[in-house]
Symmetry: D4
Subunit: 238 residues, 8 copies
Amino acid sequence: MAEPPTTGPEVRLDLGRPERIGVEEAILCAGKSDAQLVAILDELAARAASALLTRLDAAVLDRLPEHHRARIDHDAVSRTAYFDRTPRPDGLPSVAVVAAGSSDMPQVGEVVRTLTYADVATETVVDVGVAGLWRLLEHVERLREFPVVVVVAGMDGALPSVLGGLVPGAIVCLPTSTGYGVARDGETALHAALASCAPGLTVVNIDNGYGAACAALRIIRAVQRAGVPGTPDGRPAR
Amino acid sequence: MAEPPTTGPEVRLDLGRPERIGVEEAILCAGKSDAQLVAILDELAARAASALLTRLDAAVLDRLPEHHRARIDHDAVSRTAYFDRTPRPDGLPSVAVVAAGSSDMPQVGEVVRTLTYADVATETVVDVGVAGLWRLLEHVERLREFPVVVVVAGMDGALPSVLGGLVPGAIVCLPTSTGYGVARDGETALHAALASCAPGLTVVNIDNGYGAACAALRIIRAVQRAGVPGTPDGRPAR
Amino acid sequence: MAEPPTTGPEVRLDLGRPERIGVEEAILCAGKSDAQLVAILDELAARAASALLTRLDAAVLDRLPEHHRARIDHDAVSRTAYFDRTPRPDGLPSVAVVAAGSSDMPQVGEVVRTLTYADVATETVVDVGVAGLWRLLEHVERLREFPVVVVVAGMDGALPSVLGGLVPGAIVCLPTSTGYGVARDGETALHAALASCAPGLTVVNIDNGYGAACAALRIIRAVQRAGVPGTPDGRPAR
Amino acid sequence: MAEPPTTGPEVRLDLGRPERIGVEEAILCAGKSDAQLVAILDELAARAASALLTRLDAAVLDRLPEHHRARIDHDAVSRTAYFDRTPRPDGLPSVAVVAAGSSDMPQVGEVVRTLTYADVATETVVDVGVAGLWRLLEHVERLREFPVVVVVAGMDGALPSVLGGLVPGAIVCLPTSTGYGVARDGETALHAALASCAPGLTVVNIDNGYGAACAALRIIRAVQRAGVPGTPDGRPAR
Amino acid sequence: MAEPPTTGPEVRLDLGRPERIGVEEAILCAGKSDAQLVAILDELAARAASALLTRLDAAVLDRLPEHHRARIDHDAVSRTAYFDRTPRPDGLPSVAVVAAGSSDMPQVGEVVRTLTYADVATETVVDVGVAGLWRLLEHVERLREFPVVVVVAGMDGALPSVLGGLVPGAIVCLPTSTGYGVARDGETALHAALASCAPGLTVVNIDNGYGAACAALRIIRAVQRAGVPGTPDGRPAR
Amino acid sequence: MAEPPTTGPEVRLDLGRPERIGVEEAILCAGKSDAQLVAILDELAARAASALLTRLDAAVLDRLPEHHRARIDHDAVSRTAYFDRTPRPDGLPSVAVVAAGSSDMPQVGEVVRTLTYADVATETVVDVGVAGLWRLLEHVERLREFPVVVVVAGMDGALPSVLGGLVPGAIVCLPTSTGYGVARDGETALHAALASCAPGLTVVNIDNGYGAACAALRIIRAVQRAGVPGTPDGRPAR
Amino acid sequence: MAEPPTTGPEVRLDLGRPERIGVEEAILCAGKSDAQLVAILDELAARAASALLTRLDAAVLDRLPEHHRARIDHDAVSRTAYFDRTPRPDGLPSVAVVAAGSSDMPQVGEVVRTLTYADVATETVVDVGVAGLWRLLEHVERLREFPVVVVVAGMDGALPSVLGGLVPGAIVCLPTSTGYGVARDGETALHAALASCAPGLTVVNIDNGYGAACAALRIIRAVQRAGVPGTPDGRPAR
Amino acid sequence: MAEPPTTGPEVRLDLGRPERIGVEEAILCAGKSDAQLVAILDELAARAASALLTRLDAAVLDRLPEHHRARIDHDAVSRTAYFDRTPRPDGLPSVAVVAAGSSDMPQVGEVVRTLTYADVATETVVDVGVAGLWRLLEHVERLREFPVVVVVAGMDGALPSVLGGLVPGAIVCLPTSTGYGVARDGETALHAALASCAPGLTVVNIDNGYGAACAALRIIRAVQRAGVPGTPDGRPAR
């Protein structure tokens, strides 16, 4: 006779992902129980592996065992954490992160901290929503130099369309759930980016800062692979 | 014993509307049978009343009796018609109509022709979508002078937000059903205008050029009522 | 080697907005962290600038530093606050604010307090939902005198259509999230106002009292600019 | 070995329905093939049964065999037909059918013709949309006498809420697909009726004139069963 | 100079409603502040008027002043309360309330308590969902005798269609928000009732037990007005 | 220099599918150009392979080359066709196909013809919608014998819930796009089946008769694999 | 005079369900009050009946009376409980439960614990999302042996389509509400499973682990009924 | 007195776009009148400019003047046309276009023809939907070499997630409107790509082949700018 089953943590890591697609697996903490998170950190520690943790609330962090917390560099605004790793981005920034409003800082932070974890330097421009157009226009010449621009916007999502007509780099739009009424949940910002009259914008899921960073990373890696001879590690010299 | 009923035209006009709210009733032709349209025109002719007809397809026009057609000034693009009236807008234009793309011309036309019918002069600026921002910026100084600007845009609907941050007049946004995919049916343009980060935009129903014109008219009439003494008919001198 | 970034407040104000569009920037407190709000108030104090704060919960207010709280005039129902400014609306009311039910008071308050902040006097009529039609009809003659009427309604949103057929002024509809079931979140009230059979209604986002007030303000400013000679500051004498 | 199946008409009638629920089955013609319709009419003729046909387009009618067409009384606007029956509504009208606009005549017709088929007399009031409120108010005293009022409205669907606050009878709201933009397909009219601030309204499916008539019929039959003694067939004398 | 406005309670009662439409106004407590509720109860007490309160949570009740609480008969499941009135339904039950599952008890309670407040007796049949069809069939003969049946169902909302084919009385469907996944918020139950294959069902808003009761009341009053001579107060003898 | 590309048919067949999953690939004709269909039939003929074609309109069939048409057994109602194969279902029917209304015949036909193509015999019961419950109840004892019942229903989709409480076999619900208003496109029938109060129903996409048949086939094959010894080809003897 | 009614628990059990459809009724605890739950457990205890409880939160469990708690085997992750029964699944597993991610464990647990309660043994494969395809491919040969595979997936719901092309057994897809943005609430996973390009997948409601288990049970019972002679209780020998 | 306005073509080209963002403006023909298209072609011819035309139906092409048609290279499947230009893509393909099914050929063609117009060579892999996984796996090694992969998929949109876990290049997902039922209009494919469990996918609007190509072009241009010294025109040597 079999035991009545009881459901437990059971988490398996995909540690071979970087070799396959150049992007390390991140641990999405939202939706996981404390027990599952501890099991994952135990496993990482056992394998001497570092990891990026996303959507990790400060309250959850506080409930983790001290020996794990000691290895974690946590940022409360972006809810990201580095487990057992200090990133070393060097070279000039190759990704610009441009945000419409200061309410988008959590998502901006998730993009920046994810790219930083991958040792990619970023430059951030915040509070340049199109209702004060001149603030954006001051930055256009500088933004035209980046191979990738991540555009973060909620509410009406008008920023991607304006920027898309002004800069030649690859544009990754990150719609946010900022706003209320018809803007609620970010659907309007998402649809506006998808339906943009500016050609060649691409879009990721609402509030998916990690995904936007990974998309930028895929492009930067392609640029690096085509990069200048003499840069031994394949990073662009710019 | 009663006769089995047969449903017929039976249309009643609200000819007292201008006195009540300053806007004449228009005949929305879409959704009405040919018989209903003929009955309305008969009634108008009997009362020696003129009227604005909207959503009147050329094919329907062709099926109307010759003696009615002879009194109709029809515009195929905007599907509007003037029945038994030649408008006389005079004075300088007091409403600017600004459109993102040339695919929005039917809606632009409905706005312009409705205001013209009410003897209000307009100025039209087309094809200034934000993907080519400089085209719009050329017009900003001029547009800042208008008490009312109607902004016509489909797809991502980014134009209202940009313009709303640049001009001080009342802004009536007219979202259009131009576009495909998530833009289909104009819902994205509608929501983007409603969720705009630019303060004080107002919005009418998708493709409702007649409504946008009436909203502009209500504002212009309020401006005129407060207008410069010495203009006998209450119109602004500007 | 660069420091691993940590996301901070970083708020930039658009203090030039009144000159551009005649509307002062307001601080939308919802979605901002306490740290961001404090940074904004510090910046305002440093520049000796006043401001309107919206969506400021009493609980958040209580967490602000005492020296900022002392400069704030807060209204709990509308969740609005005046920072370092006592408005002085004079003249007769030029905007009427009409609401269907007493559950719409938070939104009514946001409209009234925003206009008051801009020194525009208002007149409020509440609890005149169309299910008790005679209550509304008592006010019609008075409401016909206003250049702008803001109509606040949730649930079925029938009030704008009725009022739109009775008064000639500009009408700004403010749908509210009052209600449950299919009315939930205000979408039915929003759509009913947009699809109204009364011509020339305009609409703002659900619960966007600030936006409705700004739309009214744009119209009032246009009326004032055309106003009676002899009123030195351009305000209508009425 | 079995024959490869070929799908055929196969229609079974529920002729016992009137005894069970007091409502005769109607034949919904939309979505049925010509072959299926002919099979139904053959079956009806074989059983010497009459029937109400709904959603029968004139084009489909023309394709039916002559011997069936000869027995059909068809109304093009409401797309209803009586097969082999001449209704005899007598007594005073017990159901009022009130419609907002002349574009709602197809649905009004379906209600009226369905009730007529059941020998229930109706009274129709059309083109009383709330944008011209006074037209409706003229009829209120009369409408207060009816045990059942069917309210037909598309677009913003404001008519039911206004009428619901004025008359004491049972109110059956029939939302219609009249309109465009956010009104498209009748969803706004449906939701407005459901979310009405007037208490005790009931609602049927969009464009479901047959259903509204059956709902009225269920109520009228209940009234008749409680009716005045001396009316031998149970109909109300009024 | 005017005072900066502060928004207050300001509630006006529609005490003339019963004469107009036969239904007393109820106080919807959800969405009202404690201050607003107290103001309403004060007003009611001042006028010596009784009232039905709906959506009154026990927690809110506990915060009301003792002298008001003492006059309130509260039912926690249905969240309804009678203020200063003890209903006296007499005669046989004239409305049957039939519910699919025991999770629908809050809504059943709102229907029953609202009708009881109007002195209409009811009969309740619960837990007869169609997945156990025989439980429903046991009650059909009894249910066929009622002039009005209120059908309460969430999830798939199949009960109204089955019952609609079995009983001749007027049927008012009350969809509930019971369920999860695609059933969440009651939309599936609402749409199933509207799209029912059973003819003549009518529907009210999701979870609107008060509305369903008022709809039943309108019908019962119509039946009573046609009722048996000799019943002095117009109630049916049955 | 490369040629400017021109897009052509290029269709590749997955002829190994039966071995992998026990279901033969079918050719979904909707959305394919005539050229693509001809290329597929050419390929099939070249490989001497038979095939099931779905969603093949009679008009498209008529445009195919005569030598392909000669090999096709087409059914106009279900829009299915057998290419170069005469199915031989033997044994007793193992799948029951039960449909609410005669408007569902196209979908019923797609289920039956797909199973027939796989040599599985079926039994069909049509026009047993729950509004006439007794028609369904006559068939229950028989339906309890089938290992799989496919339930076809549009509109309110109440049939699956009722049947699901009465028969023990596997139930595959096939929602159809039959209906109008809120039933339009089959979403209500889909959601009602998914949210059913009857346990263990499974559901396929709207109008996906082919998919429902394949689901039934997977179950029947599992039953056959466990089947009675002595049936050489693994089919159940029943 | 009747008592003012107070709504109480009133729960009726459908204990005859196993005989009718082979599936025991489960008690869905979500949406029931504590009083209702206690009444159900009292009734079960009085009849000496066991039961499966679903959606039973630990917090609710803690509020139940000790004498009931003592009979309950509760699993916190899946929120399921066995009342007064220790299941005895024997034989080899006949249902495979395959899940995309570790966040789906609550739903996996509900499936497994429901089948275990019915004495059906299961085999579980977790964390095989298609982004790490090789993890899934390792299990394919084993999964091809099962008559039923339950596939549990949220977010993009790609796992069912991949698995559906690889294994021949019956596939029951259980979409979960795991995810955020457009994945929120599980609708994308639900639609992806329904629209799958793999033929013959069936789907249950979002998060409905109980329903998926019951669907599997219906199929397993059908397989058992056709099972190997000599297995006296109809269970498969495998 | 002004003339009553008549709405005309009025199209303005944004010929400076390539310098600004590296992408030439394309003419979206859908939604434009014949007169507008002719005006655009006249303008292009007058400026001796070439152009890419999208969504140009063969029927519209046939109505254009002969002297314009003679300069047009039209592809009927993709509905694209080259006006007065023969592209010369050279070098190895740098963008892979991978499609799930042959029904996606129109969108594949729009991607390929747009990139070809920009002189970028492509490689196409069609009919590799995940239901026949092995077809896709044959191509993975080859696809891992591309800096950009465009993934075209409708229905369940599972292909992007699988491919995203296997290749390191930038991935642009192009959801298509292929499918029916819940897949209708491409929303499921769009949401599945956005909610993918594979990290770093980006997405464009449904059926927006032109946009997907422009997104790929932005990335390829960034790669080229970083490219190997000695390639005089900045194209990658690979």
